[in-house]
Symmetry: D3
Subunit: 171 residues, 6 copies
């Protein structure tokens, strides 16, 4: 009962709803999410290799992440559709040489936040990276996708404890 009230996407009867945000003002909102794809060092080396015009694996993943942010409301059933004002996706070799770190920054002027858009951008960029490298490394793992910070909205700013910058930006 209390449970139903606390999980905002369930109504008093426990049924799924797209919650009513019509009473909220449209304000500037931003969110940053991050994650990583863990892989063998040789796989990372291939991605970064000077032998290929470097960047296409990362460039394709970046584009996939940006486009996915725009599809969030189509993927996540109870998400509100929002007119996004900015999307930026960064990919960087991890400092320990064992993977690629991904961050996504999304903004809107809207009645609800863009956490899900940022998390979706990271997730799909990671899936795309997996797809392009799976012929050489099926053991890659997508790890640690989380919200780093958000600003705007009634609930106030959020900053994840211990969240630092991306370790190194390769391109």
């Amino acid at each position: 009962m209390a449970a139903a009230a606390e999980l905002s996407h369930l109504d008093a009867g426990g049924h799924a709803v797209m919650v009513d945000v019509s009473a909220k003002p449209a304000t500037v909102r931003q969110a940053t999410a991050r994650g990583r794809v863990t892989m063998r060092p040789e796989t990372l080396a291939l991605i970064l290799s000077g032998g290929v015009p470097k960047g296409d694996v990362l460039a394709v993943s970046r584009i996939a992440g940006i486009m996915a942010a725009k599809k969030t409301a189509d993927l996540v059933p109870l998400c509100h559709p929002l007119p996004l004002t900015s999307v930026r996706v960064e990919l960087a070799a991890a400092a320990d040489g064992a993977g690629v770190e991904i961050a996504a920054h999304v903004g809107t002027t809207g009645q609800t936040g863009v956490e899900m858009e940022a998390l979706t951008a990271v997730s799909v960029a990671a899936l795309t990276l997996y797809d392009m490298c799976k012929a050489v490394d099926r053991d890659m793992t997508i790890e640690a996708i989380c919200l780093v910070r958000k600003t705007g909205g009634r609930s106030g700013p959020y900053e994840r404890a211990g969240a630092g910058a991306l370790s190194k930006q390769t391109e």
Copy 2:
């Protein structure tokens, strides 16, 4: 050079292509992927709580995962569109009480595999679970999304080392 050849989604010049699978026979192919959403025990308790007709959070996430499997080629730029023959998504409380485990099983009769469909189903089920619970726990993390096994296709079966069954199936 070698790098470009090894990463199958890049042509000899390092440019992105959707690789030609026209010479491959259409065979039965299956893939299983898994992942987990780590959360506070109280958050898991809310999801499982007897106070609500339990299952809507899990039911919505399951549906979102199934529908996402069908959108994989729309999300992952170089994925081949495939007519899927089965999709099953399972969600279960983790044995340690600190999260929800997710598994997706996908099948097709096609010229290429369904690893990406299984991984996409897990990812979107996880995102949906995050969305429905974020009002009570913004610190949740999506973890350990990986391919567990695949069968069918020229490259032969794959089984991830150390992959066990889902710890417990709650619904």
Copy 3:
């Protein structure tokens, strides 16, 4: 001639247009639509049966309806895309035991109304219910989809004559 003018989605020459709403103010708008799926009592009994964790048929239909509301502009050629602020879909056993009643409530703050979003949500929830039960009952019929009421916008409120509440809400 007059005809062309009266049907708002046709221009003076009778050709389809997405009508210009740029001069309309963005106001709060809501719409409710309803419909029903008629079926054999045994089929309804199966859906409601205590033998299965009841609700998955209804839960899946509810989610499908909510997601469809967000796709309305993609389905109905001359509909304006709108950022929805709320979507709620209810399913209930009909009082006469011969079917399931469906209602959808949609809201936006926009320059045009959400009647089509509410009607689309009901239609797709009904299609989904048909899909999940068709193995046992191909004779089901989707009936009486109509607009119940709308508020907001220049044309003023609308209330369908004789529209009552849903007969009984089962979940």
Copy 4:
């Protein structure tokens, strides 16, 4: 328990699945569905009016229905994606002058049937017709959407009792 087994989109535990059709042969399958939009005679007269290049309302609805057939698996959560081989949508003034009748014929060579594609085409053609005429008649009702017949597939042919031809084809 038995219930779960009978409703094919629920597994033994009552959870939603996209059922496995991989063991079914790919055969030629066809389905026809129908429905009607009931309206005031004046509304029908406007649609058919000689004063406008007649047909645009019906032409737009027809196109919307055809395109919707292709989106069925995107709308109905547990539907299998299928490569359709034909889609035809007919709209005709009802013999009683009080509405428009709609029929959709869909074909595929696949492992599962196209009933849902035919029903979806009818539903979206009806919604589009409603959308284009709602400025003059908000009381229109979408009625009697049902499967008329299907052929192909293991369950054999189906013909709805009492289903006749469309009453009159206006364009």
Copy 5:
């Protein structure tokens, strides 16, 4: 370096971003684009032929163009999603009898312009016309797709030099 700055969809490092428009005011914006499909006179004659209820080829292309305008942000990776307030697509036989001219007019109240929506509507209307006539004329060519004018937004109005009206509007 300077190059990266000038191409607005690349950040300082040359990477793709959806540029931040959150500081821009939402203003009324309009754009008109045009293009043509060049074909044999016999092909045009078939399209315009009195023997068929004229207009279905043009009607279908018009609808396809309108619907495509709504999908622009889904097709063009770095485009912002926008709630369009009007879309109009015109098709007309070219004055020289060797093709069909297409124009699209799109409006929004938003933080960024609708040039891409207008260009996308023209492109997809042209592709649809090609699709419907390709059985009789595979040599058709899509030509001269360009922005004719735009208004609204910080960069001020734009009018293409030498852009005149559509030569003749056939329907």
Copy 6:
């Protein structure tokens, strides 16, 4: 009458249909289309400039073209949905230095051809290129989109008269 018969997407009454291809065998089919974006030499120089990690404009356009090929049946109303087996998009500076040439090669094993998929890939790659460069050159024009060749299918191979290779491949 004859006209209606000759335009394959219209039935005998002149109405739009998705033509029935169920009697056609599934064979290997390929199609190549091309087009160009004409621009000022300075704009091309910016795209190719050594000052930016060259290629991102071309890389994003290439990805957009590949993804659009998969959406063809969603954009072009009477196109059949097809499981594509290969998509390759090439972009190259024109020999005369006044634009970018685009070619798309698409393959399938299916019951109908992939001309529309190849043409759609070229069109959307061109639109994306326009989008990324429009801040510096609004006068760019999309030109000469046409089918170059196709193979497979009952109508036999087609080769456009005078079609040569892309003038120079820049990346």
